[in-house]
Subunit: 312 residues, 2 copies
């Protein structure tokens, strides 16, 4: 008798839904639109309807479904209460309770970045590990901390907010959070571009980047691969700050592995080279000498991780 | 029917043993010498003997004893394996298994700094909390991280080694660990004294500290309380570095409370003033606005925490 779980990853534009076996085999995945009207009050009913429809379509037996796991873009506590999800219009919504009422299934909820970490541990770059740090380098920097196989949510659901780990005391620009010197200002896609503009202004050297109108993080990384001096300097700063932050985080939780995901990680293993050297230089020896890997599940990680919440 | 637990805190010189009720009432505590001969192989038999003697002396019924909790000065994994305890001469000793054989009781083991954190959460400054950071400011800087009521040990038992959290990129002196810019170099007793000597050399101002031969951390803190300019500068640096490290750690685990213990914390709440301002300035807002408290159990914290391991 097969048992199934649904994994759901709610984003600002689309909701990703997956039907998986208990062993983590993805049977099918699909997307629905995220409806933001009326403070996002249709999102959970829409998800319930889509799941119920899929159950009918595939003639699944309800008793064989272990439940629904949900990843949400905001802080979540251990009981499935979402404190706030700005992109969805939610504030203090008990998502677990509500979706359970709409579907009749057991529901577990987590923060989306934490779910991505859990997904990579279950079926991605972290299989076999129980203690990992996952850092997601996209427009911003997100993080998920796993200790003894469980996600760390923290007192107000804001554990793993490593994008706002302070790494520089002399920054003059402000981060989106209002503070100065946050990791996100250096090691996100936006951060890499910011550093590139700063370096191009300060440093009069020739650079491939000078011919590009609208520099992207990918442009900088590609130029660094080509040996462009200014791009290499920028990527060295990227690695210095990320390595420093991860070294600090590693002496807090002493992980087995660090996984790097998000759009920026598509650049490949060159990223790890930039980070790992500084990490080992800065980390307490007992917490160092650990493996860095690139995430492998891409945008599916959150769906896998959310589904895995039902397996404990 | 009363149920009892033994809490044991193994130090380099003495072993502290306590007999507590299941509710955490300390019936009696005593000390035995830590025997370091033959790579510390007598330590566990000595503890077993002392506990058995106490059981006979008080005519306790063995069935009413839930077990023994142990705090050890070194990294410990979740199964009670001590990787290394330099001060005891231990290397890869399965302490839980051995003491269980010697006594017949269930045995649980943790790192001493982690046990102190657990003790403060059970019966000290952290009662009612489930997510805390405890930082111990003594000769060095130690730490204990509690998440959802459980100690974080990490993959190699080295979680919470926050004394080696990097806080300064421009340090020229080396930390005991061999790296440069560790928190311990600024916010331990030794660190405060080091900063004081540095400031006295650099800054030609008058200072009460100039009349003292062998400056201690207490001298510096006392002078700061008197309004001594140089001492205030030193304590401001102390607070800056500790506040910065704690802000970073808080965005990893999002605690409810931060507890400051150890010899330096005897200076009282003035310490919190120095730290909290920088902490709030540097921390991600969702992880900030939290309570700082001084530890209250002193040297008994580890014994309480170790005992509490038996209650899960």
């Amino acid at each position: 008798m097969n048992q199934y779980v649904f994994g759901v990853d709610i984003g600002g534009t689309t909701v990703k839904i997956g039907l998986l076996t208990k062993d983590g085999y993805l049977i099918e995945s699909w997307e629905i639109k995220t409806s933001k009207k009326n403070s996002g009050e249709n999102i959970l009913p829409d998800i319930a309807e889509s799941i119920n429809e899929k159950i009918r379509e595939l003639s699944l037996i309800r008793e064989n479904i272990l439940g629904i796991g949900l990843g949400v873009p905001g802080p979540v506590n251990n009981d499935g209460l979402v404190y706030v999800a700005v992109n969805l219009g939610w504030k203090n919504v008990n998502v677990a309770e509500k979706l359970q009422i709409f579907t009749g299934f057991k529901v577990k909820v987590g923060n989306d970045a934490n779910m991505a970490a859990l997904g990579e541990m279950w079926k991605g770059a972290g299989t076999g590990c129980k203690n990992i740090i996952m850092v997601t380098l996209g427009t911003g920097v997100g993080g998920g901390i796993i200790v003894d196989g469980n996600v760390v949510n923290g007192a107000k659901g804001s554990a793993g907010e490593i994008g706002h780990f302070r790494v520089e005391d002399n920054e003059v620009d402000s981060c989106a959070c209002g503070k100065k010197g946050c990791l996100e200002q250096y090691s996100s896609a936006t951060g890499i571009v910011r550093l590139a503009h700063r370096e191009l202004e300060k440093n009069k050297e020739e650079s491939l980047l000078r011919d590009i109108c609208n520099i992207s993080a990918k442009d900088v990384i590609d130029a660094a691969k080509y040996g462009d001096g200014i791009a290499i300097k920028v990527m060295d700063s990227f690695g210095f700050y990320l390595g420093k932050a991860l070294a600090g985080i590693a002496c807090v939780t002493n992980p087995e592995k660090i996984i790097i995901g998000g759009g920026v990680a598509k650049a490949g293993s060159i990223l790890i080279n930039y980070v790992k050297e500084y990490f080992e230089q800065f980390v307490f020896d007992n917490c160092g000498n650990i493996c860095f890997e690139l995430a492998v599940l891409g945008n599916d990680a959150g769906m896998y991780g959310a589904a895995s919440l039902l397996l404990n």
